[in-house]
Symmetry: C2
DNA sequence: CCCATAACTAAACAATTGTTTAGTTATTTT
DNA sequence: AAAATAACTAAACAATTGTTTAGTTATGGG
């Protein structure tokens, strides 16, 4: 009876057997799979093997495949936030944004060649009928990056509001394009692309 | 015996029953499905329904799903070639390329919103282990477009060879990015992107 | 120590995938 | 008209998908 109350109130659950894995650890492995293969191509079987836990455990921890994917994207964004925070704390204006572009290329090619960006890859893969939570995370992230770009552009006081808004839009699409392009084009071409994007911003 | 020879020499096959469909017609319908949904999400069931012919007929005409896809991409490129030929025959240099960018946006949003570009969508979807023929068609097309860009840039005689090569690379990635972006960003943002891309080329 | 129960293993689930095949229909050639 | 055969219909195929479930193991509180 007392136990029931505790459970209902979610103060403390009776833990019978300990989990043999940490969710933050296994989700990072899942994230790497989704990053490399995309949502559809990554099967529960692959996830099972890579995460090192049984399907039952996956489902009890994350609900379903989409739940694993959602947490994977959040995990990915958390990693990307390191680069974004660097930009946030930079006072170099447009040069800081340019550095972020270069940082991203290094980030996306950390392990091997051309995995692109999990956020952009997902935006390219999904259609309108995709899961709402996923779509929300994606658009929220895009909006957030655009805001950071805007803040950096504001550091140049000679630019008026309209110019800043316009250039932030230009840069967010450039970043989106660059993310996709990392999967296809060479490092030399990507560097060249960045240089041209920032030639006159 | 004589018939056998004819068959073997492929001069004339004995046609017993006429096909009730034209392959060029049904492949265009398939192309529209792949364009909208991508390769994986488009099932043989969907193709059967949209193309209006039986699975047997699909397999006897195109071999397998990948065969239908390959022909669909070729069909798509054939359509895109109208825009490319317009650029080819233009003498407006960089302005002609800019017009091609705008033409492409109209083309990709002809029917509804944001189907992107079938070539770019495919490049975003496939991995390294994808079918070789598919990969070849994609890279060949990219190379061809880059060549047309190069030719247009050459119309400006003040530009040296290195500049032209560099700008052609920049523009092909910009086009690639734009293609992906049409599925996500608004018309206003895309126009703004194009204007900024061509601000200093 | 024992009971309740969370976490585990492994099998089964229904649905869908791309592909093939057996049997029927229609057309051309002899 | 009849034989030959390409093109049709429709069912079956094996494999894989995401998800669930029955049964076992291990660990907590009383």
């Amino acid at each position: 009876m007392l136990n029931d109350c505790l459970v209902l109130l979610c103060i403390r659950k009776i833990m019978a057997r300990k989990k043999e894995y940490r969710e933050e650890e296994v989700i990072e492995k899942a994230m790497n799979l989704f990053w490399q293969y995309g949502y559809e191509t990554t099967s529960m079987q692959m996830l099972e093997k890579e995460m090192g836990i049984n399907k039952f455990s996956i489902y009890s921890s994350f609900g379903n495949k989409n739940g694993v994917f959602l947490e994977s994207i959040k995990c990915y964004i958390q990693k990307l936030n390191q680069l974004i925070n660097k930009l946030k704390s930079s006072a170099n204006g447009i040069e800081g944004i340019k550095q972020y572009f270069y940082d991203f290329i290094d980030f996306s090619k950390e392990t091997e060649f051309g995995k692109g960006c999990l956020v952009t890859n997902t935006a390219n893969e999904i259609r309108e009928d995709a899961d709402e939570k996923i779509k929300e995370v994606l658009s929220k992230f895009t909006e957030e990056v655009k805001q950071v770009f805007t803040d950096s552009l504001r550091q140049d006081e000679t630019k008026n509001k309209a110019t800043i808004e316009q250039q932030a839009d230009f840069l967010i699409i450039s970043m989106f394009g660059l993310s996709s392009a990392t999967r296809v084009f060479s490092k030399r071409q990507l560097d060249n692309y960045i240089e041209n994007v920032f030639k006159n911003v």
